[in-house]
């Protein structure tokens, strides 16, 4: 069995392999200073995919409207910023709080559904919110978006340069903190219960579990994280456009997660850079047909590994070193 299904009572054990990802992310900062702006948006999407993993990989809830949480966080943090509040951390937290609150409001209504009806409702909510933002030009700027997000120097010291050093480390810091939080949550009794709900919701009810409450709590956490990701996107791009709310954003996050591997926390962190790297070079190869490459890659990965790239890595490692890989 793949690592995604490793006994969850051992999930809290930290494996040395894990540091590799974080060291690479740090090494990138020094090795490719000219690509930091692009790399920052990769980190933002990695965080978004991570939040989706909490929802899909651990609670077993497939949403096609997760961009609503991302976009809401982006707009709220931008509006607060444009209203004159330029501190970065609190701005991002405000965006996250807005999305978390949104999840607490609609979660109890929509999470009663499951399967196809739920997916369709998330699609519908996404479409409605997108069009509402499109219409509410006075608030969102409509098609023009909200430009001019400016931030105070971080900790009063680090300025936000055009090269994006501050932005990169700022987002990396958020990612590390929220990743740690996700890890704790997934390994906690609550996380275990959530995975029980994923496996067999009816049976969870019969062990006395408040299934809907667990799902709403899980959704609120995932939505808050997606909101923070959206806020970070607004802050580091100094701009929010309608596309943060679009179906494309939801799908991008989902594809990144599936590429990397659903239900393993690192899925989004691996999938996002791979997806955006391939996208970048495919677009250079052919600006019109680049989706061919992404589509092909997705089919190959899903066909040969249910656990995404990380699942593939697991099985390769296991072949080299039987019983070793985790």
């Amino acid at each position: 069995m793949s690592g995604a299904e490793s006994p969850f009572l051992r999930r809290h054990h930290l494996r040395p392999v894990e540091t590799v990802w974080w060291l690479l992310a740090l090494a990138f900062f020094f090795a490719f200073p000219e690509y930091l702006a692009v790399a920052t948006s990769v980190l933002v999407m990695a965080l978004f995919a991570l939040s989706l993993d909490l929802l899909l990989g651990f609670a077993g809830v497939l949403s096609l409207g997760h961009a609503v949480s991302f976009g809401l966080g982006a707009y709220v943090s931008a509006l607060i910023n444009l209203a004159g509040w330029h501190e970065a951390f609190s701005g991002a937290l405000a965006g996250g709080a807005a999305s978390g609150l949104f999840a607490l409001l609609i979660g109890p209504l929509i999470l009663r559904l499951s399967g196809l009806p739920f997916i369709m409702v998330t699609l519908g909510v996404g479409a409605i919110v997108y069009e509402a933002a499109n219409k509410a030009v006075w608030l969102t700027g409509g098609d023009n978006g909200l430009p001019g997000v400016t931030l105070d120097p971080l900790f009063g010291v680090f300025r936000w340069s055009v090269y994006g050093q501050t932005g990169y480390l700022y987002v990396l810091g958020w990612l590390l903190a929220l990743f740690y939080l996700s890890r704790r949550i997934v390994a906690s009794p609550f996380g275990v219960a959530l995975q029980g709900v994923r496996e067999n919701p009816d049976r969870m009810r019969l062990v006395g579990a408040p299934v809907l409450r667990h799902l709403v709590a899980g959704y609120a956490i995932a939505s808050t994280m997606a909101g923070i990701a959206g806020a970070l996107s607004a802050q580091t791009n100094a701009f929010v456009g309608l596309e943060v709310l679009s179906l494309n954003t939801s799908i991008d996050g989902l594809v990144m997660l599936v590429l990397g591997g659903v239900g393993r926390l690192y899925g989004g962190l691996v999938g996002a850079p791979v997806y955006m790297f391939v996208q970048h070079f495919a677009q250079q190869w052919n600006p019109y047909y680049w989706m061919f490459l992404i589509g092909g890659l997705l089919i190959v990965i899903v066909r040969f590994s249910r656990g995404g790239l990380l699942g593939l890595l697991d099985s390769v490692l296991r072949r080299i070193r039987p019983g070793g890989a985790g």
Binding site: M1, E5, P7, F8, L9, R10, R11, H12, H13, R184, I185, A187, S188, P189, F190, G191, V192, A193, Q195, G196, E199, N200, D202, R203, M204, R205, L206, V207, G208, A209, P210, V211, H214
Partner: protein
């Protein structure tokens, strides 16, 4: 008058024109060891479903320790100590045996609101889960996935989950079905070792098991209670024997009858 652990009166349930529960009344005193028998299709599992809340009755009233629970959801009945098992194992197939029981223990202890401490370090919860596995002779399988263990062990795991919920009233739907004969006594011993104040209702076909377990037997036929009484009396009843005549359960039934 002592308060009844579980009382159901006038339960009705129909699926279309088909009456699966027709004015069923049942009561379990604290510490009851009651068997529910009847031919296939008599509505035994339906009755357990109505009592546990997996099904809603069309009419009737169910009370647990004197408190009306007719409209309570499954989860809240469980929290009050009304726990059932399933005839067909319905567990968390991808999880290990220990994890299955952990889920129930954790929920029962109210630990599932803890988002911070690792579940794997909750020694208190894990020890409780392991003690239950020990009792059902499942300790050796605790790190195997539920889907990988033999069917008999899956049935025992079903009981283990129920025990993890600290039941006051336990509804067992054919717990021994499919268990190899030599493991049936593991199950019965585990049931016998439960605190005497727990009331237990068990659907069971095997009259040997019924005689060993029950002090009272309900016979259900076509959604109605045909008769209630001590095992020997019920098994001697011509009405009951007539019901089983020609049924597949006949041989097993005869096997448990006095002098057979």
């Amino acid at each position: 008058m002592t308060q009844l652990a579980l009382q159901a009166t006038g339960l009705h349930k129909s699926f279309g024109a088909f009456k699966v529960a027709d004015d069923v009344g049942l009561h379990l005193a604290a510490g009851a060891r009651t068997a529910l028998i009847g031919p296939n299709g008599a509505g035994k599992t339906t009755l357990i479903g109505l009592l546990s809340g997996t099904l809603r009755p069309d009419a009737g009233r169910i009370s647990l320790h004197g408190r009306d629970i007719t409209r309570d959801a499954m989860a809240s009945r469980v929290k009050r100590g009304l726990v059932r098992t399933f005839q067909v194992s319905s567990l968390f197939t991808k999880l290990t045996v220990l994890e299955n029981v952990f889920l129930a223990v954790s929920e029962n202890a109210g630990a599932s609101n803890d988002l911070w401490r690792p579940a794997g370090r909750r020694r208190d919860l894990i020890e409780r889960a392991e003690a239950i596995l020990e009792r059902l002779h499942l300790a050796d399988s605790r790190h195997r996935r539920m889907a990988e263990i033999p069917y008999g062990e899956q049935r025992l795991l079903e009981i283990a989950l129920a025990l993890a919920l600290k039941p006051k009233v336990l509804l067992l739907d054919e717990p021994a079905a499919g268990i190899p004969t030599d493991e049936v006594s593991v199950l019965l011993d585990a049931v016998a070792s439960l605190p005497t104040e727990i009331a237990i209702l068990m659907i069971e076909h095997d009259m040997h098991v019924v005689r060993r377990f029950a002090t009272e037997v309900y016979v259900l036929v076509h959604g109605r209670v045909l008769t209630v009484g001590p095992p020997a009396e019920v098994m001697a009843s011509p009405d009951v024997r007539a019901v089983y005549l020609g049924q597949s359960g006949q041989s097993r039934f005869a096997g448990g009858a006095p002098g057979a």
